[in-house]
C-alpha cells in the first residue's frame, strides 16, 4: 500500500464535489476556484481542474459567461445551472452519509 496513492484516490472523488460547492456560493473565475482548491489542499496540479470544468459544463451542471476584465481579455465566469444545484444537493446528502459511516466505524 502506498500512502500517497491512497491519499490521491481519496482526493479524486471529492474534487468534483468541491468545485460544485465553491460555485454554489457565487459565480467564479477559474483562477478563483483554483485558489480555493489550493488553500483547501484538495488539488495538486492545476491542469486537473480544466478538464473537470469542461466535463461538468458539457453535462449541463455548469454554464459560463464571458465577463470583461480590467486587466486584459474577457474572463470566463462559471456558475451552477439549476440542474447543477440539484446534483449538488444529492452530493451533499451522500457526503453527509459517508462522513457518518466513517465516524461510526472509527468511534467503535
Amino acid at each position: 500500500m502506498d500512502l500517497e496513492n491512497t491519499k490521491a484516490q481519496m482526493r479524486k472523488g471529492i474534487l468534483e464535489y468541491c468545485i460544485l460547492s465553491i460555485l454554489s456560493r457565487n459565480s467564479c473565475y477559474a483562477s478563483d476556484i483554483i485558489k480555493e482548491l489550493k488553500d483547501a489542499r484538495v488539488i495538486v496540479v492545476e491542469g486537473t481542474l480544466y478538464p473537470l470544468l469542461t466535463r461538468q459544463k458539457n453535462a449541463g451542471l455548469l454554464s459560463y459567461r464571458w465577463e470583461e476584465s480590467l486587466q486584459g481579455p474577457p474572463r470566463k465566469y462559471y456558475e451552477l445551472t439549476p440542474e447543477g444545484r440539484e446534483y449538488l444537493k444529492d452530493l451533499d446528502n451522500s457526503w453527509n452519509e459517508l462522513v457518518e459511516s466513517v465516524n461510526l466505524i472509527r468511534a467503535k
Partner: protein, 196 residues
Amino acid sequence: MKITVSINLGGYSFNIDEDAYAELKRYLKNLEIHFAGEESSSEILLDIEARMSELFRARLNSYKHVITMEDVRNAISILGTPEDISDSETTSARDKFSSPGYHRMYRDPDHRVIGGVCAGMGAYWNIEPWIVRIIFFVLAMMGGLGVVVYLILYIVLPEAKTTAQKIEMKGHPVNIHNIKESVKKEFENVRKNMKL
C-alpha cells in the same frame, strides 16, 4: 545574447526565449495529445493557455520583460504534466477513453519476412517470431502442411494497419497513452532509418 520569439498566449503577447518557446510548444503539444479523446478538447487547451498566460504575467515586471526557460518550467510544474494530470483524474473519466483490452491476431507488416503471419503470431503470443518461422519451415518440409496452413492464415488474418490494431495485436488496451507510446516508437524508427 539570445534570440526571442513573440507569441500570443491567451490574448496576451509575450516575448519568450527561443529555447523556452520550444519547451512550451512541446508541453502544449503533449497536452493536446493527452486530451485528444476528450469532448471539447480545444476548449480545455484554451483554458489552460489562458491560465498559463496569467502565470507568465505574474512573473514579469518592469525589470523583466522576457519569458525564460525557468518561467516555462515553473508554469509547467504548477499546471502539471499530462502524467500528473491523469494521475489525479477520476478513473471513470479515464476508462471512458480506452476500449477494453482487445487481444486479436493480425499479420504484422513491420516485422514480416514473407507475409507477416509468423511475426503477427509472435506478437500475439509474445514469443520470438523466429520460433514460429522454424515450426512453419519444419512443417513445410514434412509434406507441405506448413505451406497450406501459412496460406490459409495469410488469407484469414487481417493486416495490422492502424496504430490501434498494432496495439491490439500485442494485447495492450487501446488508450491515448499507448497510442502515444506507439507513435513515438514509430517516429524513432523512421528517424533511425533516415540516418542509415
